[in-house]
Symmetry: D2
Subunit: 361 residues, 4 copies
C-alpha cells in the first residue's frame, strides 16, 4: 500500500517499471517562483545514466525528462509537478529466460510471494531504473536549496572492494567516471573493474554524501530526526545495506570525551556527529556514508528455484554494472536533497520567526 512516496511537505511520488512505457513522478509542494528547466534535471540524469562510460552497463537509455505540469513560463507555479521519461531501449527479449525463476539476491521471489503477479521484465518495479525519477525530483530540490539557502549536496565514491580513498579532492569527483575524489586511486579502480568483467562478477562499494551550508535547526526531535530520515532515504536506495552518520560504526570504540564535539565561539572543534545533534542539524556539514552490495546480476551461474519450487540454474546475461555503487552517486545526492528540502519547509512551517540572541556558530 501507498509506499511510493517520500516526504511530507515536499513530497515525491514515483511510478514506472524497467520495461514499461515510461517512468514518471509527481513532485508536490515545491515552492513557486523557482526558475527551472529540463536542462537542470538532465545534468544529474546524465550522471546516473548507463552507457556513458566503459565502467558501467552499456544499455543506452536516453533518459530524457519532460515537465508535464507545474512549470509555467520557466518558473514553478506551486502546483504539482509532473515529470516523465519514456522508455526507449527496452529489449524485453533479454529477460524472457528468467520469467519463471527467481534470481538470487534479487526481489523476484519476494515480489512473487507478496503480489502473486509480477512484471518480470528487467526486474519490473524493483529495477534500479526507477531511481531515475528520484534523481530528477532531487535535482529540483538541489536547485532550490542551492539558490535560496546556498546548501550544496555532493557525493563521492569512498571505497570499492578493497580500494579505499585516502584524500578528498572535490574537483576530482566529476573528472572521472568513478566519482572518485582521489586521483591516485583511479588506476586501482580501473584494474578492479576490468578484473571483475573478466570474472563475470561484481563488487560492493561505499559512498559518502556531504551536505554543506545546512542551517542549524532542521529535523524533528523524536521520530522524524534528520539523521533517521537520511537513513531511511539512503537505505531505500537499491542495494544499500548500511548507513552511517558522522563517525558511524567507529563510535563503538570511542570514549565520550573523545566523541563529543566541543563548541567554541568560532564553531565546533570537530564533527564526529556528522552535523546532527539530537536529530537536528547543527550547522556543520551533514556527513553520511552508505554501503552498497555487489549486484547479483552476474554471469557466474547460480542455483535457485523456479515458480514451482524446483531447483534450477540461473545466469543473468544482459548488460550490467560490475559495481552498481558508482552510479548511485547522483541518487544518493538526490535522496539527501529531498530529505533536506522537506525538513527545511517543515521547519519553516513551525518555526518561522524564531530568533535567539545566541550567535549561530
Amino acid at each position: 500500500m501507498a509506499g511510493n512516496s517520500i516526504g511530507q511537505v515536499f513530497r515525491v511520488t514515483t511510478f514506472g517499471e524497467s520495461h514499461g512505457l515510461a517512468l514518471g513522478c509527481i513532485v508536490d509542494g515545491c515552492p513557486p517562483g523557482l526558475e527551472i528547466s529540463e536542462t537542470d534535471l538532465q545534468v544529474d540524469l546524465d550522471r546516473r545514466r548507463p552507457g556513458t562510460s566503459k565502467y558501467t552497463t552499456q544499455r543506452r537509455e536516453a533518459d530524457e525528462v519532460k515537465f508535464l505540469s507545474g512549470v509555467f513560463e520557466g518558473k514553478t507555479t506551486g502546483t504539482s509537478i509532473g515529470l516523465l521519461i519514456e522508455n526507449t531501449d527496452q529489449r524485453s527479449q533479454d529477460y524472457s529466460k528468467i520469467s519463471d525463476r527467481f534470481r538470487p539476491g534479487h526481489a523476484d521471489y519476494t515480489y512473487h510471494q507478496k503480489y502473486g503477479h509480477r512484471d518480470y521484465r528487467g526486474g519490473g518495479r524493483s529495477s534500479a531504473r526507477e531511481t531515475a525519477m528520484r534523481v530528477a525530483a532531487g535535482a529540483i530540490a538541489k536547485k532550490y536549496l542551492k539558490q535560496e539557502y546556498g546548501i550544496e549536496v555532493r557525493c563521492y565514491l569512498s571505497q570499492m572492494g578493497d580500494v579505499k580513498i585516502d584524500q578528498v579532492d572535490w574537483d576530482q569527483v566529476e573528472q572521472n567516471p568513478f566519482f572518485c575524489p582521489d586521483i591516485n586511486k583511479l588506476e586501482a579502480l580501473d584494474e578492479l573493474i576490468r578484473q571483475l568483467k573478466k570474472e563475470g562478477d561484481s563488487i560492493g562499494a561505499k559512498l559518502t554524501v556531504v551536505a554543506s551550508n545546512v542551517p542549524v535547526g532542521l529535523g524533528e526531535p523524536v521520530f522524524d530526526r534528520l539523521d533517521a530520515d537520511i537513513a531511511y532515504a539512503l537505505m531505500g536506495i537499491n542495494a544499500v545495506k548500511g548507513v552511517e552518520v558522522g563517525d558511524g560504526f567507529d563510535v563503538i570504540n570511542q570514549r565520550g570525551s573523545q566523541h563529543r564535539d566541543e563548541l567554541t565561539p568560532e564553531g565546533f572543534k570537530t564533527n564526529h556527529a556528522g552535523g546532527v545533534l539530537g536529530g537536528i542539524s547543527s550547522g556543520q556539514d551533514i556527513v553520511a556514508h552508505m554501503a552498497l552490495k555487489p549486484t547479483s546480476s552476474i554471469t557466474v551461474p547460480g542455483e535457485t528455484i523456479n515458480v514451482d519450487g524446483e531447483t534450477v540454474d540461473v545466469v543473468t546475461r544482459g548488460r550490467h554494472d560490475p559495481c552498481v555503487g558508482i552510479r548511485a552517486v547522483p541518487i544518493a545526492e538526490a535522496m539527501v536533497a529531498i530529505v533536506l528540502m522537506d525538513h527545511l519547509l517543515r521547519h519553516r512551517a513551525q518555526n518561522s520567526g524564531v530568533t535567539t540572541t545566541t550567535p549561530k556558530i
Copy 2:
C-alpha cells in the same frame, strides 16, 4: 512540525519531557480483541528502566505504565490506546547549572536555535527518558506479532568498546545486566564499565536485533522498504550513528557471487541479505545491527559556549550510564516490532487473499 509519530496504519505518537509531569503515548490502529494488560508492558519497561543494575544509572524511576483507554475487559477494542507514565523522581536541581549553556554532544544547542525556548531540565524532550513510551508501545506490537504470527523480535549487545561478542547464546541474554549473549565476555564488560566509572567517561556499543518467523512479503518496493523503515526506526533512537541490515558494511568488499543468497527448495543457503530482498521480507530472519555513540553526559570537563556565545566549561554531574547502549536493547526491539506491525497491517490491507502455487521456502 508533526514529527512525534511513527507508523502509518499502526501508529505511535508520543509526548513528554524528562522532568515534566508525565510521559505518554497514543497507539492508534491496534487490532481489536488482543488480550493485553499493564503487566505485558511492564516487563519490557523494567528491562529498560534505570537503577536496576550497578552498570546503569542509579536514577530510580518507577516507570509504571497505565492504560487510559482502548482496552476494555482486558482486551483491545480497536480504538486508540492511551498510555501514561508519571514522572516521580525528577530532582530538577541537578540540572540548574546547565540551563544557560550547551552540553557538547547533546541537543541543547540545536533545540535552542531551532525553537528559541527549551525545557533544559534533563534535556527535556531530547532525554532518552522519552524512549520509555516507545518500549511500552512496542510491547503491544510484540505481543500481537508473537501471538498471531509467531514473530519474535529480540536484541543483544554485540560489542562494547573493544569487547566483541564471539558466540550468541540467546538463553544468556536475559541472564546478565549487559544483555550479552556470550558468557565468556561478561568479565571483560564488567572490567570495562568499572574502568569508565573511575575515569568518569563513557563508551559506545553495538547491538544486534533479530526478528524471526517474519512471513515473506512485508515491506514496500520503493520508498517504504522494510529495511529503509528499520533504518529509520533504529537511527531514530538516541545516540545511534549507524545501522546495518544483514552483512552491512562488509558488503563493500564482497563479490556478487559470494553475497547473493542462493535459493533451494529447503530454503535460502545463506542470509547475507539479513532477511530483506528488494525492500521486502524474504521469510528469513531479519537481522540488523546498530552503533550507539558514547554518551556525552560524563564528568570529564568539557569546553562549550553559553547562550550569549561565550566560552564556558561544562561538567555533567547527575547519574548517567557509562554505556547507554546497554539499555537500548529493549528500545531497539520495540522500534523493530513497531515497524513490523505497521508493515504487517499494510500488507494485509493490500494483499489479503494473494496466494501463489510456489511453496514458501
Copy 3:
C-alpha cells in the same frame, strides 16, 4: 486504523472513552514561544461542558484539563503537547442495561460489527465526550491564530427545530445558554426545549461558524482545499449530517451572474462563496453552516435488536441533552481553528516570501 488524528503539520491525535480513566490528546507541531496556560483552554471547555445550564445534560464533569508536556515556563516549546482530562463522574451503572443491545441512531451496532469487542459504557469512544479534547486542542490553535494573525473563529446557533435566527448580534451569543445571536428567539428556544423534555424527545439544530481576518492564500488547490478540509472537520463532529460553505444548498437555484462575487479595489461586493475560491481562502470571512441531528438518546422507547439478533426494546435513560447542537458550538469553533492553523503552517512552509504587487483587497 490510525483514524484518531487531524491535521498534517499542526496535528491533533486523541484518545479516551466516555467512562474510561481519562481523555487525552497530543498536539504536535505547535509553534514555540506561544504563551499558554490551562486557563486559556478551560474557557472553551467550560462552554462545552455539560451541567452548566438547565438546557443541557445534568451530568457533571469537571473537565479540568492539564498540560503534561510541551509547555515550559508558560510558553510552548515546539515539542509535542500532552493534554489530559481525568474522568470523574462516570456512573457506569447507568449503562449496564444497554450492554447487550444496540441503541438505534447510535454507533453501537456498527462498532460491534467492526471491532467485535466494544466498550459499551456510555457509548465508549463514540460518546461526544471525546470532543472535549478537540475543544482543548482547538483552544491552542485559536489563541495562536488570534495573537499572531488576528484571526477569530466564532460560532452561533442559527436554527433549532423550526426556530430560525433572524439577526446576528455577536454580543448576544455568549449571553445566553443557547449561543443564540438573536435575543428575540430566546423565549421560543426555551419553550421548545421545555416541550421536548416533557416528551422525552430531542431536536436537530443548525450552527454557523465564521472565521474572520483569515488572510488570502490558505488551502490547497485540489484535494486538501480549505473548504474540503472544513467539511471533513465539521462532518466529523458527532451528529452532524450536513455542511455548507457560503450559500451552500441555496446555490442550486442561483444564476452564475448572481452567485459570483465581483471584485473591486475596495474588496469583494458580496460573499456568496463563503470566503473560499478554488479551495483557497479569499481574504473574506470564512462562513460555514452545519446541521446536527436530534440525539437518539431519548426516553421514548424504541425498537432494536440485541447481540443475538433478536428484537428487543430500548429506552435511553441517563442524563442527555434534548438538543446536542447547542453544546457543539465550541466544538465547531475548535475544528475550524485546527483546520485553519494547519493550513496556515502549510502555507508558510511552501509560500513564505511570496509577494505580489497586487493589493490584498
Copy 4:
C-alpha cells in the same frame, strides 16, 4: 504543500493543468491481480468528457487515458499505477485576454495571491479538467469494489435550478445527457438549459450519490469517519458548496424519535442516517447529496480588478457548460469510490478476522 493526494492506503495523486502538455495521476496501493484495461476507465471518462451533448461545452477533448505502469498482462501488479491523458485541444488563444485580470467566482485571485506566479490559461490547475484524472482513478476503485465486494457507486442529477426530480428510475440515468433519473423532467431541463444559453448565464445543481452493498464496518470512529471523508471528497470537487449525508439539513427540524433508524432482525426500518452511524458504515445504502454552484464562466459581463488592483470588466467567452453540475456525476462517483476503496483496505488492515455471532442485518 503536498495537497494533491487523496487516500491513505489506496492513494491517488494527480498533476496537470488545463492547457499543459498532459494530465496524469498515480494510483498507489491498488491490490494486485485486478483485471483492468484502458477501456474500463474510458467508459467513465467519456461520461465526464465535454463535447458529447449539446447541453455541455463543445470543447473536444479526446481524453484518451493510457496506463504507463502498474498493469502487466492485463492485471494490476500491486505497484504504483501511472495514468496519462495528453492534452490535445488546447486553444490557448481563447484565454489571453484574461491573463492580467481575475475572473469573479474563479480561483484566479486566490492563486495569484497564494503563489505569486500562475498558469492563467484556462484556469491552469484550478480548471475542472483536472477532475478527469479523478474519474480515471475512481474507475479502478469502482471495478475492484464491484468485483470483489459487489459494491456499486452511482450518481444522478437530483435538481437543477428549480427543476426537482420526483422519482428515481436508475435505468433512466444513463439514457439522457442530464444523468436525470426522472423521465418526466427531461423537457424542463432542456428548456432551462436553452434559456440559459440564450442569456449567456449558468445555473446550480444538486447531485445524489448512492453506494449500495457496502459492508458494515467501514470508517474510523473519530476523525476519519466515513461520512467526514465523503464530505471532504465531495466538497473537494470544483464548484461544490454543500454536502449532506442521509437526511442532511432536514434533520434540523426532526425529532429524535423520528430520525433514529430502528433495527429489526430483517434490517433497519428506515435510512435517515444515509448508511453511516458513528462514522462507520451500517450496511445500508450510503446516500449523499451535494450542491454545485453555477459556473462563473458566463458571457454576462462582470466587474473585477486586474493585477494592478484597478477596476476592469471581464467576459468569459470560450466554450463553457451552462450547468457544470451535469458533468460532475461521474466525478462524484469516482470520489466516493476512492473513499470507499481506501476505507475498505484500511478496515482490512486492522480488522481482518473479526467476527461476531450477531447476524449482519
